[in-house]
Symmetry: C2
Subunit: 544 residues, 2 copies
């Protein structure tokens, strides 16, 4: 209001000046020539003043209702007005006429002089906002301010919900828009954004077309600007699904009598022989980062916890630069005492995965659909009772297809992929268990098969032809464990604490470790594990 | 059976030999003298044979029913008999006469010649087992074998549930015992145990009595033999409660729209100025272990996840050897965008803790009682609406009690303890929030108080006078954050990725980090944080 009053008085002063009498410097009236010249000069001045006046009036016109917009001071929790803000997802045509407030990002804006259009976003939801000049509240200044707000800034918007006649296709709210009455910035973006949300959410298949006008935003660019990249609806969905996998994993296991454990990640000795282990400076000594909670979850079994699980980071110092390796990932680990046969554990694992897949399908259907819009993928197929294939039968299948593989050879990534295809063709499932691996390709603590010690009581699980779980019955006898360590050239003294645990009496037990990011990547067919990790770590990436 | 038949035939042969005729070496009958001598010799031999016969008969007697006991071969999952095993907790007098099988540890055993008594244990549950010689199935050999099984071995027991007339006070099953019919060892302990379960479970107050005959098992001994120590009912309870805290934490937050995140623990730069950070050899460069997920959970807020939590290890390279510090612990972290005031977050945290405490009280009542039997403690008191005390008022309270403290000084451990007592006396709660800490004693990213920049929008929570949560409203403006970093002598370049996140627009937000082991230690009044960590890590301990 103060600004408006000031403008009015300036206009009055300008008008006064136009009324003054004309004399020369000595006080006499001017000659005709001089007068003409003066008049020309005056005319120019008058025109200039007029332009100024118009400009000032325009500014005055723009500036009314200035309390309805602007930049809010930095929120330091100055006050609680208890203004109720609703979610964009709650906006719809049936609420026509309601005045509401939302806090949202400005995804995009475009303006003409009298009107501006916005897309406001919260996570998955978007709504169209319209700002039109009117006589009382919305000045041109307001429109100018609003349309100059940088994309991705956070704003508070007060507006009226208006039911639209035609369907709005560009936003998730399709039958209503928000007619803006007030608009304040809460946090403004600084500098140029690395990419827009539209670019970052564009379907992969559209980009891959030969005649496309779209540039691909590389994964590298995305990861370098991860904070912006994670805002895409696709990423919002991926990490909700990731969170969901953890919830489902725990829900199932707790219902089966498991308890959650937390085991140390800094170890005094490099476990499992010392390969692929990161070393840590630990005060005046050296320590190592755990490659898995293997030894500790087994020690918990020796301590009678009976059934345990852990969700925790796992560290691997492998210089592997592939689509499915990271140096740090999240392990979903479990270990379980059984009564007679490790297949008791396989049955629990079978039920667990079916529970997770079923849970994702029902509880995260919308998120899965969202991801699919960007990353097209066939539905993930699984059986109500998971296929359990023996290693020797898998070898047979592969040989029938002409793959050369020895009886006791390990599977290569490529062979795993082919096997996945063969299984899919034969059994129509993207998920299966491969049981009875050759003993030699498994860790020293793996229990040999009782009937043929070339094989072992160990298994891997696969999703879309890639390994996501590795597990086995473990040796629970100290003397035998020591013997097997030696065969693997591991000095038992370096793992004495672990071996000694079994001297205190240990039940037969089995378990497994699941790679969380692999499960999410393969379930959604994302093609690269970095897409299912918030801030991935690989041999070349430690930032952000 | 084969062994028994062999014994019988040996006895028959011995009897035959006693019937032979007596001649000398030339075939004549012997002289009287010689005969007497011979008879003496024969008498001796007869006596000897008789002893042998008795011994053999005894062995035969011992050995019948040998199929009912023995050492089972190493379980390599040879077979599935589908024998149903029940839990000890399912045994009671009403099942009198039922034949059942259990797998359990032999906690203790004592034997006379004809009878042996056992205590069998599964986690929290114990039952008395009785083995009595009978004519058909239980030989003396069985009793001898059974009573020689080392304590803590794992056995399969088949027996009849017998309702007892008198209450059994030494086991958790009080109205029934198990009359053993079959007993096999599944895994036998090797060597001397460091302590018995009885010793390890003895109530602390009993040990502390001046005239006690009991030696204390030091925490050091317990931790060195953690696998055995964790089998005590007290530890079984403590870690179920720890698991419970995590479940309740997640259950509440998920119901409030939070999602679970997993942020990297290996960082490219030492965050928060570089003090107390472990360094890691990362291929050809140096990396650091995360002291907290602080920066990453905030970056998730900048990425519109809105409400996030994480349960993960936290690493602190502090050479602190106290009852409440570890170099690795489990952080329960959360971060939340708010609309107007960080007290919105404090309200969520308030509800969260009340939910956890209430949940422990109702769902873990038995476990809490179990722990109390060993570690006596007054009940943990909390209010339905948590007390929120301002720092300046806490200073006032302390000064009234004669504690010298400056307006903007931090609290020492001792001052915290005294304040806890004062609060307990005045408000009858073991849990409260301390709000509005002096700005100077808080991290650089803490939002200053809007009215007095000597204070800040930050808080600690306390249980029984010790800090268990630290949190604050965070600065969400990049320029201001950079300015504050400089004040704290942190080079903004070292945390550029973090600062840049706020240039992309960030909502006002606040959060906190909770130490899981501290919550458990203080809730149960365990006196040392190592008691609430499965395998604790401190500057002097990296094993087991």
């Amino acid at each position: 209001m103060a600004e408006q009053q000031e403008l009015s008085s300036t206009i009055e002063q300008t008008a006064d000046k136009l009324e003054e009498t004309v004399l020369d410097e000595e006080g006499k009236p001017l000659s005709k020539k001089a007068l003409k010249k003066l008049e020309q000069k005056r005319e120019k001045e008058r025109a200039k003043k007029e332009r100024e006046r118009i400009e000032l009036e325009r500014k005055a016109a723009e500036a009314y209702g200035s309390e309805n917009f602007g930049k809010k001071p930095l929120n330091q929790s100055q006050e609680r007005t208890a203004t109720k803000r609703i979610r964009i997802s709650e906006i719809n045509g049936s609420r026509d006429g309601e005045i509401i407030t939302i806090r949202a990002r400005v995804q995009t804006s475009r303006a003409k002089s009298q009107i501006a259009f916005f897309v406001f976003r919260q996570q998955f939801s978007t709504v169209q906002g319209v700002l039109t000049v009117d006589k009382d509240n919305v000045s041109k200044g307001f429109v100018k301010f609003a349309s100059s707000i940088p994309d991705e800034s956070i704003v508070d918007v007060e507006g009226v919900i208006i039911k639209t006649k035609e369907e709005i296709k560009s936003t998730t709210v399709t039958d209503a828009e928000l007619h803006i009455k007030k608009l304040y910035t809460i946090s403004e973006t600084v500098g140029r954004l690395p990419f827009t949300m539209d670019e970052a959410t564009r379907p992969e298949d559209l980009i891959q077309q030969a005649d496309t006008q779209f540039n691909r935003i590389t994964l590298e660019t995305r990861l370098n600007n991860r904070v912006v990249d994670l805002r895409t609806i696709t990423n919002q969905a991926i990490f909700r699904i990731q969170s969901g996998v953890c919830q489902l994993f725990r829900e199932f296991l707790i219902s089966k009598g498991f308890i959650e454990i937390h085991t140390p990640k800094i170890l005094g000795a490099a476990s499992e022989g010392g390969a692929s282990v990161f070393s840590v400076k630990y005060f005046k000594t050296e320590a190592f980062l755990a490659q898995s909670p293997q030894f500790y979850k087994q020690m918990c079994i020796c301590s009678d916890f009976d059934r345990v699980f852990e969700i925790a980071p796992v560290f691997r110092a492998e210089n592997a630069n592939t689509h499915r390796h990271m140096t740090e990932f999240v392990g979903l680990d479990l270990e379980m005492a059984f009564e007679e046969h490790y297949h008791e554990v396989l049955e629990v694992l079978d039920e667990l995965f079916v529970f997770i897949f079923q849970g994702l399908k029902t509880k995260f259907a919308a998120e899965i659909e969202t991801v699919k819009r960007q990353h097209k993928a066939p539905d993930f197929e699984f059986l109500p009772k998971t296929l359990r294939l023996e290693y020797k039968d898998a070898v047979k299948l592969l040989r029938e297809k002409g793959v050369e593989i020895g009886d006791y050879d390990d599977l290569s990534t490529e062979t795993e992929r082919i096997l996945g295809q063969l299984v899919k063709e034969k059994y129509n499932t993207d998920f299966y268990m491969l049981d009875k691996f050759p003993l030699e390709v498994r860790p020293f603590y793996t229990m040999p098969d009782p009937n043929n010690d070339k094989y072992s009581n160990s298994y891997d699980f696969f999703m879309r032809g890639e390994e996501i779980l590795s597990g086995a019955q473990r040796i629970h006898d100290a003397a035998f464990l020591e013997e097997r360590a030696k065969v693997h050239n591991i000095d038992p003294q370096t793992i004495q604490g672990y071996i000694d645990a079994f001297k205190r009496g240990a039940p037969p037990h089995a378990g497994g470790g699941i790679g969380l990011e692999r499960v999410v990547m393969l379930y959604l067919n994302l093609g690269n594990i970095r897409r299912s990790s918030l801030f991935p770590r690989d041999p070349k990436r430690l930032e952000p």
